[in-house]
């Protein structure tokens, strides 16, 4: 049947030879994974782009079928194929939904990598921008810092005011203009520059943690990194911040720049191995998800197999480390264990055993938007919730469809503003209904997107988007040992 299909399509396309891209895709795509998809459709309801459009091609099953059609030689990957690969958010909600355990994320990366190598469809300035970002900036902490500094200068000098006032931003697409507004104050000096590399545990040591500081995280959310260190210290961990670490490579990998991602991975593995840590902790779901998959990323480089496995095995999100190994105060630990909706003690007054606990001074209502990668790849939806439920005086309300992508998805909200905007609008409808004071997240991309949503929907007066770590840090109520 396959041959007749190919000829039918050829007739429909008016012939057409097999392109270089098709050849690369055939070599790159993992045919086992393509075969594993049994087309049951279980992944469809999980997929945000399918939900927005109702079109099969915008679904995981559809995208896999397209990849398979290319691998089978039934279809030449055309512009529509590229577009479809780019339409996918990469949120990977389809993976936990799949009974056959199809590694969709890997297929997507393989497809995008091939597309990137051959595309003729990018305009020259997109190519230049990508090259600058992926080769010139992200791999270099120093340059990242420099950009952070530039941004800081822009924000602090009167320039920002001038630009905002001048209407210059109106020249940019609307979503860029909105982005500029919600961007937090950047910092030239990251966590390492501000705090130094080694931080001792308060009291008895549980173990040593290597902090993965991230690049965007460290430039735009330096405070969150600092708070992470302090939280971990309080909970009994020594924290090391290896200074030779660099960008995780997630933006590269998800945008089809496999080679770049691999280089970065190797440097990180070397950096953390040298530091001799028990765990590697990340506070950005997007980075963490790639870190735990370094073994897959480097699967075709046997000499890195052991190091990559070492790295992947000990990487986890800060929330999970705290819940599973951290020294939590008995009452907080009990609340965590019981998954209680609300801890009862209003504050702990400084006399209740060892370990940390959290209490809010005022009664607040909090809700949470999952980081897709923390949930679907690191598969850790419970730890953040347990921590939030342990905060005294805070009422945790589940956000309807919190497990659905918010539309941020790396740089998706910049490259696919229409779909991202539509998804965000649906998300904010649900957020509004929680009537929460704080909308917590575990990933910088999601955090920015939520800030954007709050601003866009005129909710700034009532609600703030905050990183879970910052929220907890501010309510850290006790460290006695």
């Amino acid at each position: 049947m396959a041959n007749s299909l190919a000829s039918m399509l050829e007739a429909k396309n008016g012939g057409g030879s097999c392109s270089e891209l098709a050849a690369t895709l055939k070599n790159t795509l993992d045919y086992d994974q393509l075969t594993n998809c049994m087309r049951c459709g279980f992944c469809l309801p999980a997929c945000p782009t399918f939900r927005e459009t109702g079109i099969e091609a915008e679904s995981p099953r559809g995208r896999i079928a397209l990849m398979k059609a290319v691998a089978d030689g039934l279809m030449d990957p055309d512009y529509a194929f590229e577009t479809q690969m780019n339409h996918c958010l990469g949120c990977r909600a389809c993976e936990p939904a799949c009974p056959a355990d199809v590694k969709y994320g890997q297929l997507l990366e393989q497809a995008r990598d091939s597309v990137e190598r051959h595309t003729v469809n990018h305009r020259w300035w997109v190519k230049l921008a990508r090259k600058t970002a992926f080769d010139g900036v992200f791999p270099h902490q120093g340059r990242m810092r420099f950009l952070g500094g530039a941004l800081q200068a822009y924000q602090r000098s009167g320039l920002r005011k001038l630009v905002r006032g001048s209407g210059l931003l109106k020249l940019f697409p609307k979503h860029m203009e909105q982005m500029e507004r919600i961007l937090p104050d950047a910092s030239y000096r990251g966590v390492l520059e501000q705090m130094g590399s080694l931080h001792r545990a308060a009291g008895e040591r549980v173990g040593t943690v290597g902090l993965f500081r991230g690049c965007i995280m460290d430039v735009l959310f330096t405070e969150t990194n600092k708070h992470t260190v302090e939280l971990l210290n309080a909970a009994g961990f020594d924290v090391v911040i290896p200074d030779t670490q660099n960008c995780c490579g997630a933006l590269h990998a998800h945008s089809g720049e496999q080679a770049g991602a691999k280089e970065l991975a190797k440097r990180n593995i070397a950096a953390f191995r040298a530091a001799g840590v028990d765990w590697i902790v990340s506070n950005a779901g997007g980075c963490g998800a790639l870190l735990v998959e370094y073994d897959h990323l480097l699967h075709d480089e046997p000499e890195w197999a052991e190091g990559a496995a070492w790295f992947a095995k000990r990487t986890l999100d800060v929330s999970k480390l705290l819940v599973e190994h951290g020294r939590l105060q008995a009452s907080a630990a009990a609340a965590v264990a019981a998954g209680k909706t609300q801890a009862t003690a209003p504050s702990c007054g400084g006399s209740c055993g060892s370990g940390i606990s959290f209490a809010s001074a005022d009664k607040v209502r909090i809700t949470y938007q999952d980081s897709c990668h923390l949930r679907n790849v690191m598969r850790s939806p419970e730890a953040p919730r347990k921590l939030m439920r342990s905060v005294a005086n805070a009422e945790f309300v589940e956000l309807y469809e919190s497990d659905r992508c918010c539309g941020s998805a790396g740089i998706y909200n910049l490259t696919q503003p229409d779909m991202a905007g539509q998804i965000l609008d649906h998300k904010m409808d649900h957020v509004k209904r929680t009537e929460a004071h704080y909308l917590l997240t575990s990933n910088p991309g999601c955090l920015l997107q939520m800030k954007l949503g709050i601003e866009k929907h005129g909710m700034s007066g009532r609600m703030q988007a905050v990183h879970l770590v910052d929220f907890l840090h501010e309510r850290l109520c006790k460290t006695e040992h």
Binding site: M1, M38, R39, C40, L44, G54, A65, P99, A100
Partner: protein, 471 residues
């Protein structure tokens, strides 16, 4: 191939955006949930309302172009594979709940509505729509009706056909008919409603359905019984019914399935068991308690090795895990999973399972069996690899013999998945040559030019019955 004039007429009806004939759309509508089948349509169309469906059908009738109505393409019989090309008509845009009538306890919906969304909505109103196919999170009401889908609750509550009381449908010539309605009693003429339920898109396009709702059960309770003796498990099933107890759910897992499930879900199931029965009863609290106690006695009297009754809902969910993981576990075993659907009278379950195991062993293929023991509907499931042509051939032979065995035991070739493309060669085994002729006559009356889902249900040639060798 579809002529350009036809395409432009179709575009004129739905607008450019909702008619597609690019390679991407054709590829993604060339398959459904059935393994190893693929065939390209000439175009894909997304109607928004009944009037558009009618106008589309008029164009297609005039040009004798085939049309396949499609819900979510989750069927397992090749029902939406466009084997003769033509148009795939996707019903997703027609997905509204038009009315929930709280006085008559009915709901009127469009066919593209996802079943789960519908049942969740009515549950929110304190009502109950029992049909629950395993695919309900994505399959559509239209697809459920066209396949007459069943589910775990089929034994006590019946299947989709028991809840469809009225339909609106567009005929091949574009005429719109209405059958049945909100009436609980209606004998005016032939029962076209029942005829359209299970018609697999071969008689008309369903554009609206009126469904019966019932009050939800007050409580439910779950239990698990394990057997070293397959016959003991089978006798339990018959005896429960004999005792005039109709459980809401009565599910069965055979030994190969138990092994796979336990390996996957680490439930600590005893691997030397030949069968597990998973039983759920719902209703008034007193009745539920009494029934479950009685069922437990029956299980023990039929030599169940172990019987566990869930103390609460949470434990009940845990017991259900075994059944729920079955499909997931099997799907992960090998690349290709072929889930079949043979049904026998429930007294013949043990014999059927033994026959399946014997056939699988003889053909050297892996077939695990689980299913709805209460209604005799078994799902022998082959785990294989589509790339291994030789193995696939053996699997096909094994299934042919399994259908044969089901018929010999007084059963049927499909209990809920439908005939479609896959079972068409076997339909005659079940209904005989005269039955086929009768059905062809009905098809001709509805669809004289054979444009509605051609190639389905009626095979070009029926398969010869194989001679079954036992043991």
């Amino acid at each position: 191939m579809l002529h350009d004039t036809v395409k432009s007429k179709l575009r004129a009806i739905v607008g450019d955006r909702w008619f597609k004939d690019d390679p991407e759309s054709l590829i993604t509508h060339s398959y459904d949930g059935t393994p190893m089948l693929q065939s390209l349509p000439d175009g894909v169309i997304y109607p928004e309302n009944t009037a558009q469906v009618s106008a589309i059908m008029k164009v297609l009738q005039e040009h004798r172009a085939p049309v396949v109505s499609r819900g979510s393409g989750t069927n397992l019989c090749g029902g939406t594979v466009p084997v003769e090309g033509g148009i795939v008509m996707v019903m997703h845009r027609m997905n509204r709940i038009l009315e929930v009538d709280l006085e008559n306890l009915t709901a009127t919906v469009q066919p593209g509505l996802i079943t789960k969304q519908f049942s969740t909505h009515v549950e929110g109103l304190g009502l109950f729509y029992p049909p629950d196919p395993g695919s309900m999170a994505i399959s559509t009401i239209g697809g459920n009706i066209a396949e007459c889908s069943g589910g775990l609750r089929g034994l006590k509550y019946g299947t989709t056909k028991d809840y469809v009381i009225g339909l609106e449908a567009v005929l091949a010539n574009g005429e719109i008919i209405r059958t049945g309605g909100k009436l609980m009693k209606d004998v005016a003429g032939y029962d076209l409603t029942k005829l359209l339920v299970g018609s697999e898109g071969t008689l008309a396009v369903i554009t609206e359905a009126t469904l019966k709702l019932i009050p939800p059960p007050k409580t439910k309770k779950t239990m698990l019984a394990m057997y070293k003796d397959l016959y003991g498990a089978a006798r339990t099933v018959s005896k429960i019914i004999e005792n005039r107890i109709i459980p809401a759910t009565l599910e069965f897992l055979d030994n190969p399935t138990i092994r796979v499930v336990d390996d996957f879900a680490k439930l600590g199931l005893p691997l030397d068991m030949d069968a597990i029965l998973l039983i759920e009863q719902d209703g008034d609290p007193e009745t539920v308690e009494r029934d479950i106690a009685l069922i437990a006695d029956i299980c023990r009297s039929e030599n169940a090795e172990r019987v566990s009754i869930a103390a609460n809902d949470e434990e009940g969910l845990k017991l259900m895990t075994a059944r729920r993981s079955a499909f997931t576990a099997l799907a992960r075993l090998r690349p290709t999973t072929i889930l079949e659907d043979a049904t026998v009278p429930r007294s013949k379950i043990a014999e059927m399972v033994l026959a399946i195991n014997e056939i699988a062993a003889r053909h050297q293929v892996t077939i695990c069996t689980f299913g709805h023991a209460g209604d005799g509907n078994l799902h022998p499931t082959a785990t294989t690899d589509a790339r291994d042509k030789d193995e696939i051939h053996r699997v096909e032979q094994a299934f042919e013999e399994i259908f044969e065995a089901a018929i010999q035991l007084g059963g049927t070739i499909t209990g809920e998945h439908g005939v479609g493309l896959v079972k068409a060669p076997y339909l005659e085994w079940k209904i005989g040559a005269a039955g086929i002729e009768m059905m062809r006559g009905i098809k001709l009356a509805f669809d004289p030019n054979n444009i509605l889902n051609p190639g389905k249900m009626f095979a070009k040639a029926s398969r010869k019955r194989v001679v079954l060798r036992h043991g």
